[in-house]
């Protein structure tokens, strides 16, 4: 039997039309936000301390049923899909630090926490972190959960064999600039062939950008990625490549695991939360690590916020909950449970956080993390920053991995930025 396509289509359309009327006409009311006692909190695995979440449920259980849900997968796209769909919106939502720039222009989706008395709590938190949640119109869309101060993780035994300073205080003092750090890398390579102080050039570029007060796009939607500050970071990364102190091992492969365990990749410039990754990935290296200050000064990677959405029917109560969950004592708990580095300086002196860490040879790591967290520079983070920083990152990667000519790479990056800026309506 032959089915004619036209007949099939006709049948399909007729069937669809006939049933669509019944199926779609029933406009149903979908709940948005809380209803009565129920209050929903969205976060991601490891985004909050489980202990604190449990305690919050118990503490406020008399008046609300706090339903904390861990959302898996690509968190931000799920959250904005829900916000755009205007249905089943959580009352309280975690916002990831790297996504803040994209939430700020849409501050109207969230309750301005200043209206709930957030200003009273301003002194609790690191000022630069607080500023990251301030929208262009001055409203405050979230309270800080944690921060990610960048430090220099290293293996002292390898540094000692390479003739470098190896006590944490000495490393912090003697390798305090990029220049000294690069020189140390050269010495290490000469003394111990096959040992590299840097895992990749992109991290040099990235950390250098984070140490400054300007990024790729300014408040007036103008591209500044071609400015001297970015160029200096670029040149520094190129310099590291030129001096041959960068490993060509791909991160996350057995090669990098083996090299890290053997000590041929003895150091990492990374955020506080990477300590947890080190412990997970290299349990055998327990006791063989220390932390010191990042060369060139402190910078930050990541760190999240808790916000109250406009759909929340009881913002006062929600604010009470989040301001309790994110007080200094609970943030300290977050560090103990999930390696979330507190955004509340009052936590840094608490005994819980000043315990010697056996993974770092009994070092009190807070002595390095704490001061770094307090000194991080404030930089404006534009919603166009990711799109316009990416070509430059990609090209520095090509210089580092493929040995592309730096001048050509810079030219290509700028050409691409110009095109993207035009497309996004950013002046160049």
């Amino acid at each position: 039997m032959r089915l004619s396509r036209r007949g099939l289509l006709r049948a399909g359309l007729a069937g669809t039309a006939a049933t669509a009327l019944g199926g779609l006409a029933s406009g149903c009311a979908v709940p948005t936000g809380s209803t009565g006692r129920n209050m929903v909190l969205w976060y991601w695995s490891g985004g909050l301390s489980d202990t604190v979440v449990k305690k919050a449920k118990a503490r406020y259980g008399g008046s609300v049923d706090l339903d904390a849900i861990q959302i898996g997968g690509y968190y931000r796209s799920k959250l904005i899909t829900t916000l755009a769909g205007r249905a089943h919106i959580p009352d309280i939502a975690g916002l990831r630090g790297e996504d803040m720039a994209s939430y700020l222009p849409n501050a109207d989706q969230f309750v301005d926490l200043r209206t709930l008395g957030a200003e009273k709590l301003k002194d609790r938190y690191l000022d630069w972190k607080w500023q990251q949640a301030v929208a262009p119109d001055g409203s405050l869309i979230g309270l800080p959960i944690d921060v990610g101060p960048v430090v220099h993780y290293y293996q002292p035994a390898v540094y000692e064999r390479g003739g470098l300073p190896h006590e944490a205080a000495d490393v912090s003092r003697e390798l305090d600039t990029w220049e000294k750090f690069f020189a140390a890398g050269e010495r290490l390579k000469k003394r111990l062939p096959g040992t590299y102080i840097l895992t990749d050039v992109v991290s040099v570029f990235e950390m250098s950008i984070g140490q400054g007060t300007t990024r790729f796009v300014d408040e007036d939607r103008h591209f500044i990625g071609d400015g001297p500050h970015v160029r200096a970071c670029w040149d520094r990364a190129v310099e590291a490549k030129r001096r041959g102190i960068v490993s060509d091992i791909v991160a996350g492969t057995p090669d990098s695991i083996s090299a890290t365990e053997k000590g041929t990749l003895p150091s990492q410039l990374n955020a506080s939360w990477a300590a947890g990754d080190l412990k997970l990935a290299y349990p055998k290296t327990k006791g063989r690590w220390r932390v010191a200050d990042c060369p060139g000064g402190p910078s930050n990677v990541g760190g999240s916020f808790l916000a109250i959405t406009k759909a929340c029917r009881e913002p006062e109560r929600a604010f009470e909950i989040i301001s309790w969950m994110l007080d200094a004592r609970n943030q300290a708990q977050g560090f103990v449970d999930a390696g979330l580095f507190p955004s509340t300086p009052a936590s840094y002196g608490m005994p819980k956080l000043r315990e010697p860490d056996p993974f770092f040879g009994g070092q009190i790591t807070m002595d390095v993390f704490g001061p770094a967290a307090e000194k991080i520079p404030v930089a404006f983070n534009s919603p166009y920053d990711i799109a316009l920083g990416q070509p430059i990152r990609d090209e520095i990667k090509n210089v580092g991995v493929l040995g592309k000519d730096p001048a050509k790479a810079w030219e290509d990056a700028m050409g691409k930025c110009r095109r993207i800026a035009k497309h996004l309506g950013v002046t160049f």
Partner: protein, 319 residues
Amino acid sequence: MVVAEQTPPAVDRPRPATAPPRTGWRKHWHLYAAISPFYLLFLAFGLIPVGFSLYLSLHRWDGLGSMEWAGLTQYQYLFTDTDFWQSIGTTLIIWALATFPMIFLAMVTAVMLNSAVRFKNAYRFAYFLPNVTSVVAVAIVFGSVFSTNFGLVNALLQAVGLDQVAWLNTPWGIKVAIATLMTWQWTGYNAIIFLAGLQTIPGDLYEAARIDGAGPVQTFFRITLPLLRPTLLFVLVVSTVTGLQSFSEPQVLLQTTANESTFSGGPDHAGRTMVLYFFQQTFDNNDFGYGAAVAWGIFLVVVLFSIINWRLVQRRGEQ
């Protein structure tokens, strides 16, 4: 009668006798009602989103705020966007590197399975297994396999006296690694489909060929292959559609450090396929309008290549 939850069938109540005589769909409403659930679901979760993405591609939208009308500017940009063109090239190279070896291997496997072997079902199961394995898990394993110093592939190369290749650090190496992963994943699946095709070929044809004195090679090219053409066509089109939409393989294989975008596709964007590029534009850059335009660009490319494939295989058959 309730067809599905929340979608009561919209049916005309039986009319009083004064109604005009029923024609066309009215006479067969119950048949249409019976097939309506699929169409309803397709409308709600297929057609409307597709239509919306077309609407979206004519706007600028960051996913949350208000949409701005952009007309055809997104498409204008798409046609001049060298990154997009590069991603088409990347996708096609990976697709070719993956598909042709895969079809060859699947055919060989199927012919071997089709001849009298014991434990046929065990083999079928084993060959099908890669297809149901999680891509993410597979990509992690392949990341190890293609590792420079401790990877299996380089160990084999060195065993036969060749040099190491930095697979995941060179543009071609990345493409080969992704293609190998895809080949490994789909060979078994397609072998099973070929096997089904082989089993529809009547045995007396082979007997006749044997009596006429045809050798195994001749038999394969003169009988098996021509009669397998419909199956081959199916496999080619499906492989084209899936291969041109590869996304998870490069994404997971090239996952780098936390402070780098996972959607760049490695050095020189060597592994940035079309869908990966779409993902980067949409979810990294929050450029939903442009992302939708890229998605339609991908759609056109896939349709174009499916048609080319179709024609090629058809033409071969007519000769």
